[in-house]
Structure formats: structure tokens, C-alpha cells
Symmetry: C2
Subunit: 406 residues, 2 copies
């Protein structure tokens, strides 16, 4: 049942992708849709602007009537009405006439331009103008942003502020989006306790609870945490409940490669283990399986190993659950040290990169969280590469670029 | 009172920075601290790991006793105890002895290495070993991640998943962070209505409510929205309440440059207008002032102008309120068209940039939200630059890089 050799990352990803779940969709209020993923394309219900409107505070005029006016040549018009924002005029403008108009108000019939207020002097109904305008000047035309029936957004678009504005302009107060994945995070380990100034002998602080739950959020998902002892029945109950009530289960701890450890044992017993042991470093002891059609990622108990496993496999799985491709930008930097790596294994080397160089951070082991705090990026040495020499251009993935909302 | 000429962006920023407010701090649960800003440096309360522990499931041994063992040369040890995770052994290991040990358990006295289980065969208390280990092998040493008293994080650090893990390891369940700014967003405009398939004459859909509130969230702040008619008393009451109950007030609409428009009038009446009219494009009609010691940003009613104003001034103000410097990465791209710009004015040109080029997006006006949806970046032409020629290297700011949590 347990795979006896480490599976390369590329093959592991093929396995998780083959078992990819996509969330159902839901209809939510547009104002709650920031950073959600659209499930349906949207077509505009009307023109935007919905009418020709003034782009300035001033006077709606016939441009022809202003020709020749300047600071030296003052022309005269007669004010016949005024239109505030939200109002409109029923009058039709004729030669020699002007209608006072606010920004955003509909251009009255007969007018074809707006003269800015600062180029005018009004005295009762008499308007002196000191400038000319060309036809269409200071008019925002009906439909210039959107025409009725225009496709506004695509399915799978991430909703940024501007998409929200355009969807609103198209006439919608609700949008159909992919549900956010609800993740059950199960932390295992008898030795784990909450942070405290004083620890009893053999106790270790549960840091994975904090790092992995925040990483789940950073991938656009919601998380609930539970903690279990390294006990088959306790872990079994937690994973079964998680698989039944959540969209995804993530565990930490109990994934040793050398033998069937408790978490992998449980998944093997109640579901199917599809990956056990992956050729990445750090992060070798990873499991992946399905329980009642719910994916279960079994991460290492080692903090840094668990983080690398999350970044190598889980992050893109969570993105894709929301129908979003995970394609973080990979940048090129100069390696400042020789780095060893085995062919067939993908290395995630913690590094601090600036604009030019990727500075190696002493990679002392998969328990050293401090190395992830000092780092801002990974050098990724892929499975077809056998280490890098000092001075080589290497692939660098900045942590910032991996987040859902970056 | 109203400034008669447009203020350059650099000078405007000097004014807002001079009136920069910084939030007070609060103590929150570590598990709620993701993406908050630390207000105090943190020192570790103990060593992490808190004891020398096993990094593998296997047997704690004296490395010397294993020397020479191999798949051909089997050596024998006697198992005298076993230690599960969270347990410890009171026994001291002597020559020829081994203690079964779980990952994470404390190394017993007398042992100096752990031999992985897969290189052993156990039969009752007899252990056959098929491999040798060097001293320290598979041991995670006390304090190798953190030593008691080590500085764990700096004040002003953004709390990422790894900081949460390290702070937990240092012994803390609570952290002191800057409060999130609470922003009152006041939308003005008689013509504005909620999105709807059918609009009455002269009505315009309120898209700023959606874009600007989402932008406020994208800068790490919280927002509450209210809408007011273009009426001095209504706007006055809203701004006064906002200034008293919130950390920052943002308005949209009513900021025309040519005359005192309602919002700017109100702020001039109840507080102090410090900026009215800024040399950016789009976004000229911007106001900034103080009311009862609360900053008020008065944005344009034009959707795209308001967004550019937010990106030029408000975003960094909100970051700094949380004691975070806003320093988004500026990248260089090749301009694919000649772009006009006036000396003294900063242009935010909506563009779609790929790895190489910044493709000009028809910049049809400050009402065209669609242009922001098609764009992924701004070309920024600063106030000392007089336009760019086709083929020039230009400064590009990707929208993704402007967010709080990127």
C-alpha cells in the first residue's frame, strides 16, 4: 500500500490534479465580492453612461454659438434653465441659448457641448462667455464605457475593485462566484502545547497551527483547526468528520516515510493513499489521499517542511478549487553560493533575494522557522537540475507573489 | 481659501505626510494576527526546540556503538526503553544500549544520535542494526531555531505565516499590533442610485461605492459606507460624524476645481482645506483637509479619477497609519506608443504590461472603468518628465503590487 520510493514533484502534481475538486458556485452581494472568482460572464444590462452627460460644471451650449469667443471677444447667451445632478431639463436649447448644468447631469436636447463655468460670467439670465468650445467638448457620451449587451467580465476573472465598479455599472447588485473552500486543519502530536512562557519536559509548542492556518488563508480559503493526539481512533474520527463536513482536509504530523505513521495509516484504512513520500526538500514526508471523495493533504510535523509542502502542492490545489490558476511569477536572480541538489528532487531553498542576487540562507533543517522569517523567497531547483553553481541564474519565487490577493 | 493652481504630486505628498496619523496599538490573539503590523519587538521566552530532540522515528544510540555497522555487518544493541512523542525517558543509555524514540521526543541521557528505524530489526529487546550514524545525526538541538532572549521579530514587521509560527515558538499567544484604520467612505451625488437593470432618466449607477470601498480593503483598512445628496448640511453632518467616529474620512464627488464645490466647501467651513487641485492625470480634482484632527481625502466623482487619486495618495497614507511603508516595486517596461505628458504633472497611464512591453490602453477619459478592468498596471510618468517616446523604458507599477497583502 505505501509507496516505497519518493515520487517526483511533477508526478505528484499530476496525481493531485487528477483528483482536483472544484467548488460549487454561489450568488453573493456585489459588495462582498472583492477577491472572489467569477463563475459566469456578465453582460451589461444597459449603456454606461446611460445618457450623454456633462463632464463639467458649466453651461450646456451649441458649440457653434461659442465660436470666436475669447478673453478679448466676449459673446452673449441667454440662460433658459438649470440642471442639477440627478435632474434633467425638458427644454430644448435653441440658437443663442445656454442651460446651466452640473457634472453628471444629462445634456439637454439641442446642446452639443459644455462650456466650463470658469469661462463665463452670469448675471441673471444673461451669460457672457469668454471662451469657445468644440462640439462634444466636456460631454461624456452614452455607452462610452459600456454598451448594453457588452461582455463586462469573464468567468474565472478575479474580482478587483475595478471589476466591482464595472459590474455595478452594468446593472448588477449580485454576482455568481465560486464558493471559498472550507478547510479542516488537523494538527497531530502528543507533544504539542499552546505557546506559553513555561514548558513541561518533552512538550513542544504547536507552531504549525499558526503557520499552516495562515497559509490556508493566504490561498483564499477558510480554515477551522482541531488538534488530536497521535492515536489511531482519535485521528480517524477527526479525518472522517473533516472529510464529511469540509471541502478539504489538511493534517500535520504523523507522516514518516520509513513506516506507516498514524495519519497515513488512518487514511489508508478509511480511504485511499495516493502519494506517500515526495522528492522535494524540505518536505519529503508528504501524503495525499482521498477519504469519501474529499482530498486529504498530510503534511509533515516539521514546520518548514510543512510550509514547503504547502507551497509545492496545496497552494495551487486551493487556488484551483476556486477555478483560479496558480501561476506565480518566477524571477531570475544570481545565486551567491553553490547549492547542491539531487537530480529527480525539487529543492525549495530559503533565500533572501534583492533586485539582483539570491542570497543563500543557512538551511539548517526543516525545523528552523527562523529561516523562513529571514527569507523572502525560495530558490527553486527543479527535478531536472543537479544543483547550481555560484553565479548561475536561478529561478526565484517571492513569497509575496504566492498569495491569493497579491 | 481655495488653492488657485494645481499642486504637484511631490508637494501634495509632503502635505499629507506632514498630517500623517498613526494608529494606536492593541493586543490581539496571535491566531488573528495574520497580515497585521507588529508594534513591538519580541524576544524569545525560551529555547526552541526546548530540548535536544529526535528528528526521526528510530533508536536513540551512542553513535560510537554503531560504527562499522552496514548491510553486510550487522551489530547488536539492547533496547532498554521507549519514548513516544510527548514522553521522556528517565533512563541513561550506556554502551551497547538503545532506546526506541519517536520524532520530536527528547533524546535520552547518554545518547548522541538517532538511527532511523528502517535500518534496524527489532526482536523483543534485541536490536539488529544495519547502518552506522555519526554523532548528532538525526538530532534537532535545543535552541537551534531560537535561543531564550533572541529577538524574534522587529517592530513594524508585517506578520506572515512564518512570523506567527516563530512568535508562537517564542512562547507568545498574544501580540501587540497597530489597529486597523476604520475609514468612513461618504459617497455624494444626487444622481447616484444602486445598480439596477432599469434606470430613471438622469440617474447614474453608484460605482464608486464598490471600487473605493474595495480599494480601502486592499490597503489593509476597514470601511463603512454612507451616501449623501449634494447638499451642504447633509454632507456637513456626514463629514463631521465621520471625523468624530472614524480614523479617516474619504469622500467622492463634489470636488470640482473651477469653483468651491459642496464637499470642499464643507471641509473649508468645518475644518481646513490643505490641498485643492493636484497635478495628476487622471485625478486633478482632489481635495485633502483636516476636520477635528481627522484627515479627509476628497476624491473625484469620476470613477477612474477617484481610483488614480486613491493610488497616488490615499493608499500610502493608509499603509503608514499602520506604520507600514508603502514601497511598491516599480518595474521597467518598453513603451509601445508615444505618450504625451506635461512637465509638472504626474500621469497614471492605464496599461497592460507583459514581461517586456507596456501596452497603451486607450485612455478615453476618467469615467471609463473598463480601461481599469483591461489594465493590469500604470505607466507612471513623473512630474519631471515630459512624456515618453515609443521605445522608451518607462516606470510600470503593477496593480497587484500595490495591495496590502501581496
Amino acid at each position: 500500500m505505501f509507496l516505497s520510493e519518493l515520487i517526483p514533484l511533477s508526478k505528484s502534481l499530476a496525481i493531485t490534479q487528477k483528483n482536483q475538486k472544484i467548488m460549487e458556485t454561489e450568488i453573493i452581494d456585489l459588495e462582498d465580492s472583492y477577491l472572489r472568482v467569477l463563475a459566469k460572464e456578465i453582460y451589461s444590462l444597459h449603456d454606461s453612461p446611460p445618457f450623454d452627460k456633462s463632464a463639467m460644471d458649466g453651461y450646456a451650449v451649441r458649440a457653434e454659438d461659442t465660436f470666436g469667443a475669447s478673453s478679448n471677444v466676449v459673446k452673449n447667451l441667454t440662460i433658459i434653465d438649470q440642471i442639477g445632478a440627478g435632474d434633467f431639463s425638458t427644454k430644448e436649447l435653441r440658437e443663442g441659448e445656454a442651460i446651466k448644468i452640473a457634472t453628471g447631469a444629462p445634456i439637454p436636447k439641442g446642446a452639443n457641448a459644455v462650456l466650463m463655468e470658469e469661462y463665463t460670467t452670469a448675471n441673471g439670465n444673461d451669460l457672457k462667455i469668454h471662451s469657445q468650445v468644440t462640439p462634444s467638448e466636456n460631454v461624456a457620451f452614452q455607452g462610452e464605457d459600456l454598451k448594453k449587451g457588452d461582455k463586462v467580465v469573464q468567468s474565472s476573472d478575479l474580482i478587483r475593485p475595478q471589476e466591482m465598479g464595472l459590474i455595478a455599472s452594468a446593472g448588477y447588485r449580485k454576482v455568481e462566484v465560486y464558493k471559498k473552500p472550507r478547510v479542516k486543519l488537523i494538527i497531530t502530536g502528543n507533544e504539542l502545547v499552546e505557546p506559553s512562557p513555561k514548558l513541561e519536559k518533552a512538550q513542544t509548542i504547536n507552531s504549525n497551527k499558526y503557520t499552516i492556518s495562515a497559509m490556508i488563508k493566504s490561498a483564499g480559503a477558510e480554515v477551522e483547526i482541531s488538534q488530536r493526539r497521535d492515536n489511531f481512533d482519535e485521528v480517524k474520527e477527526a479525518i472522517l468528520n473533516g472529510a464529511n463536513d469540509y471541502d478539504l482536509v489538511i493534517t500535520t504530523g504523523g507522516t514518516a516515510i520509513s513506516k506507516g505513521d498514524v495519519v497515513v495509516d488512518v487514511v489508508d484504512h478509511i480511504g485511499k493513499v495516493l502519494i506517500h513520500g515526495i522528492a522535494i526538500r524540505p518536505g519529503k514526508p508528504l501524503g495525499f489521499g482521498m477519504v469519501n471523495d474529499t482530498p486529504v493533504f498530510m503534511l509533515s510535523g516539521y514546520p518548514v517542511a510543512a510550509m514547503a509542502q504547502f507551497d509545492a502542492l496545496v497552494r495551487q490545489y486551493l487556488f484551483k478549487m476556486q477555478n483560479m490558476d496558480y501561476a506565480p511569477k518566477i524571477e531570475k536572480r544570481i545565486a551567491t553560493l553553490k547549492i547542491f541538489s539531487n537530480l529527480g528532487r525539487t529543492d525549495y531553498v530559503r533565500t533572501y533575494s534583492d533586485d539582483k542576487n539570491a542570497k543563500y540562507i543557512l538551511n539548517r533543517g526543516s525545523g528552523i522557522i527562523r529561516s523562513m522569517v529571514q527569507a523572502n523567497s525560495y530558490i527553486i531547483i527543479d527535478e531536472n537540475q543537479e544543483g547550481v553553481a555560484k553565479g548561475d541564474l536561478v529561478d526565484v519565487l517571492f513569497f509575496d507573489n504566492m498569495n491569493w490577493s497579491k
